[in-house]
Structure formats: C-alpha cells, structure tokens
C-alpha cells in the first residue's frame, strides 16, 4: 500500500480521560494524495475533531495517523488549515498576513514578499496588499486566508467549514477560486461542511461522519465544473438522496421531527 496521502488506522480521540465518551471512535480511513474529500454530518458528530486531528491540533488517544508517510505529531509544514472563524490577523496588513507562514519558514524577505504578491493575485486580491483586514469584506478575508495557506504550499489542506458564514453568491465565487487553486496545486483537500450542496459542488468523495465514526463513504464522480445542470442530474440527486437518508432526515424517520 502506498504511503502517500492520509492514512488513519484505528484512530480514537477522547477529550476527557475520565469520561467514556469518544469524540472519534476507531476510525480507519485512507485518502489518496490529490483527492478532494468533503465531510458532512450533524453538529457534534466528530467532523471538526476528525480534521483537527489531521491538522495536529488534537492528539489521538489511540491509533496511528500518517500524512504523506510521516506520523502526525502536531501541526506541520506539510499541512495547512482554513478555519470557520475569521482568523486573518487584524493587526497585520494583508501582505504581512500572507507572508506569515513564509516568515515562520524563515524565507528571505524579498522572496516571501514576491510570493505573497503572487498568491494575492491568484485569489484576485492583488490590489489589497497594503490594506488592513478590517477594510475588507468577510469574503475577501477568506481569500486572504486562502492565499496565506496556499503560499506555504501544503501537501494537504484542511478546511473546517471555511465558508459557513458567507452568503450564497460569495460562497459560490470562493468555490471556483478554491477549485482552481486545487487543480493548479494538486493539493489533497479535506473539507468539512454542513451543507450537502457545497459537498456536491466540491468533493470527489463525501464522507458522512456521525457519533465519532464514518457512517458512509460515497463517491461523487460528477463531471466538473459542477454548474446547475450537473448538480441537478440524476446522479447528483441520487447522491443527495443517499446523504439525506444516511443522516436520518428522510420522511418517516423513526427519530421524528427535530
């Protein structure tokens, strides 16, 4: 078996050693390099814990986790993360924000400045380098976060509901920006969302995470770009129906109305 990509073998996470409850329960999963994986599921089901474990922000209490063949011991330069929160540093200008990760890698000033410019241009913010984050809209700040993370050239990009707080149009635009960057960089992307539609637009593969386990692992082989027609094709509707059924939301569900 190739050691590329992400390999989880029997990974469990227990936040409180005195409590029996597992945030992740014995997860075994393989994500090949370059794949775009979306993770959907109810709140509190373990989606965030799973990706935070991949990022190295949460330590597994059991099992082994390797990314690109290396055991994950903590946050690492091979992995980047975009958060749901607005994490662009308000006290740094946009240019310095994008240079943050490059500076942490001790890249010389001229080189990181040039590189930051390139990535700002790649997300359509070439003119915003000198601005303060507060002068930008929420969607533009997400672009800054994308430029910052992509500038560090991670092999794996972890995204925890990054566009959750944005309006539909802004989110759709950011989807195309992200997909372009993904195609150019061949980064492996693990993307958490609570929005089935978002998963259908983005993912090669959709994982349903519930109660700390993987409830379903679905292929999503729709042709790209996934515009209105592709998203309403019989294949897309079948995947949607499957997700809805697995999440226990179809009519006559024994759990009754929420």
């Amino acid at each position: 078996m190739s050691m590329d990509g992400i390999n989880l073998d029997g990974v469990s996470v227990r936040y409180d050693p005195n409590v029996d409850e597992l945030a992740l329960n014995d997860i075994t999963l393989r994500i090949p390099a370059g794949q775009f994986v979306c993770i959907v599921g109810k709140s509190g089901g373990g989606k965030s814990t799973l990706v935070r474990t991949l990022a190295g922000l949460v330590k597994p209490s059991q099992g082994s986790l390797t990314v690109g063949g290396k055991a994950v011991e903590g946050p690492g330069e091979d992995r980047g993360m975009v958060f749901q929160e607005d994490t662009v540093f308000p006290w740094l200008r946009v240019q310095d924000n994008v240079e943050f990760g490059l500076r942490a890698r001790s890249m010389p000033k001229q080189e990181r400045s040039r590189k930051a410019q390139e990535w700002l241009a790649a997300v359509g913010l070439a003119d915003a380098a000198g601005k303060w984050p507060r002068e930008l809209s929420g969607g533009m700040r997400k672009r800054v976060a994308l430029a910052t993370v992509f500038a560090t050239e991670p092999e794996t990009l972890i995204m925890d509901e990054p566009f959750g707080a944005l309006d539909f149009v802004t989110r759709s635009v950011l989807h195309s920006v992200l997909l372009d960057l993904w195609r150019q960089t061949e980064t492996t992307i693990v993307f958490v969302t609570h929005d089935i539609e978002e998963a259908l637009v983005l993912g090669d593969r959709i994982l349903i995470v519930s109660d700390g386990g993987i409830l379903a692992d679905l292929d999503c082989p729709l042709p790209r770009p996934r515009l209105e027609d592709e998203r309403s094709s019989p294949e897309a509707l079948a995947i949607t129906r499957e997700i809805v059924r697995r999440l226990g939301l179809s009519a006559g569900t024994p759990e009754g109305p929420a």
């Binding site: 903590g74 607005d86 994490t87 990760g101 942490a104």
Partner: protein
C-alpha cells in the same frame, strides 16, 4: 467662581506669597504638581510593566496564574489607600511611598486587563498561526501580544486616570511636598479657591497624560477600530 479659580491657578503657579504663610516653600504650585506627576509616571510605568508581565505570564502558564491571581485580585479589590500609612512609615516622606502606592494600583489593573485581553482572544488565531508553522515564541509575540493590546490600552487609561488620585491622597496623609500636601495646607486656612485651583491643575495634567495615551493608541492600534477579536464568524 471659575475665573477666580483660574486666576488663582495662574498667579500661584510658579511662585506664591501664600504658601510660605501656611508652612510650604514659596515656589508656587508647580513644583508640587511636578512632584506628584513624577510619582504618578514613575510608579505608573513600574506598575504597568509589572502588571502586563504578570498578566501575560499568567495567561501563558496556568500555574503562574494560580499563584498571581489571588494576590493581584487582593490588591485590585482592597481600597489601596489604606496601605498608605504603612508605606509612609516604611519608605519615609521622600515620595517612595507614593511611587509604590501608584505602582501597586497600576499593576493590579493592568494584570486584570492583560489577562482578559489574552483570554478573550479567539484561540483560533493561535491555532491558525500554529498550522502556518509559527513557533510558540512567534505565536506569543506576533499573535497573542498584539491581539491583547486593545485591552491593555483600556487598562492603561484607567490606571493613569486613578493614579493621580492615589498619589495625591497619599501625599495628603503625610509628607512635606506634593499637590496633596498643598491641598491639606490650603484646607487648614479654608482656602477653597486655592484647593480648586490645585485640583484643576491636576486635572489638566491628567488630561495631558490621557491625551498622550490616546495618541499612542491611535498610532499603535490603527488596525483595531472595528476588528473582531473574539472569533465570532462574520
């Protein structure tokens, strides 16, 4: 009358016929005000430095916070002026008592504000920095420190607003010098206009210091006018 107070403040500022008669040097109000100002600034700077350092250390290390927290909240909650008689006895009347008094008050306030500044900062900023490869030192210097500066500046203004009162009140309780001493002397001859003049001059000095702080804040925190530090998604 306001014009009498203003007149009194101006005519007695650098030399005064009145002060020698009530047991003070003839140099006017100014040397006393400068003495108070020196105590406020010296004690304030020392206290602020101690308070910020203690607050940052407590935010970084839980054990430090467990030791310092109770001490700081003791000084923060007790009316600190009751300590003045002890300090005046221990340190004498040279001004050290005022400096210590002001320093303790400033440290207690800056401790609370600094700790709150770091703790209110969304942990996502530090996590984001960590995933970008920042070391623990970098996360402290480039994330948690700048992120807590708005709160620290709030504490600075409150501390320096209170410092003048603390210093003057300590002077009232003992010593031969300082604006508090002048107020006590003027009270003994029922010179209300003189007292108000000294209070007004103290207020002017306090406003000058506050204005300086605001100017520094405006420069240092250009980014902060509407920035959201608590991490709520927008």
């Amino acid at each position: 009358m306001p014009h009498q107070v203003a007149g009194n403040a101006i005519f007695n500022l650098v030399s005064s016929e009145r002060l020698p008669g009530i047991g003070l040097p003839s140099g006017g109000y100014l040397p006393h005000l400068l003495f108070t100002a020196r105590n406020v600034l010296t004690g304030g700077v020392i206290g602020v430095a101690v308070g910020i350092a203690a607050g940052l250390a407590s935010a970084e290390r839980r054990e430090i916070g467990q030791v310092l927290g109770p001490i700081m909240s003791l000084f923060g909650t007790m009316p600190i002026i009751v300590l003045a008689p002890f300090f005046l006895i221990w340190f004498g009347l040279s001004g050290t008592a005022q400096v210590v008094q002001v320093a303790i008050y400033s440290a207690a306030i800056l401790y609370v504000f600094t700790l709150r500044g770091v703790n209110n900062l969304s942990p996502a900023f530090s996590e984001y920095a960590a995933t970008l490869g920042a070391s623990a030192t970098t996360r402290f210097l480039r994330v948690r420190l700048p992120g807590s500066l708005p709160e620290i500046f709030g504490g600075l203004r409150i501390a320096f607003a209170g410092n003048w009162g603390i210093a003057a009140a300590t002077e009232m309780l003992g010593g031969q010098y300082g604006s508090g001493r002048v107020i006590v002397a003027l009270r003994s001859v029922y010179d209300l206009t003189g007292i108000m003049a000294v209070v007004a001059l103290l207020a002017v000095l306090a406003l000058l210091v506050d204005g300086t702080l605001l100017a520094i804040r405006a420069r240092l925190l250009r980014w902060a006018s509407v920035a959201n530090l608590s991490g709520a998604a927008r």
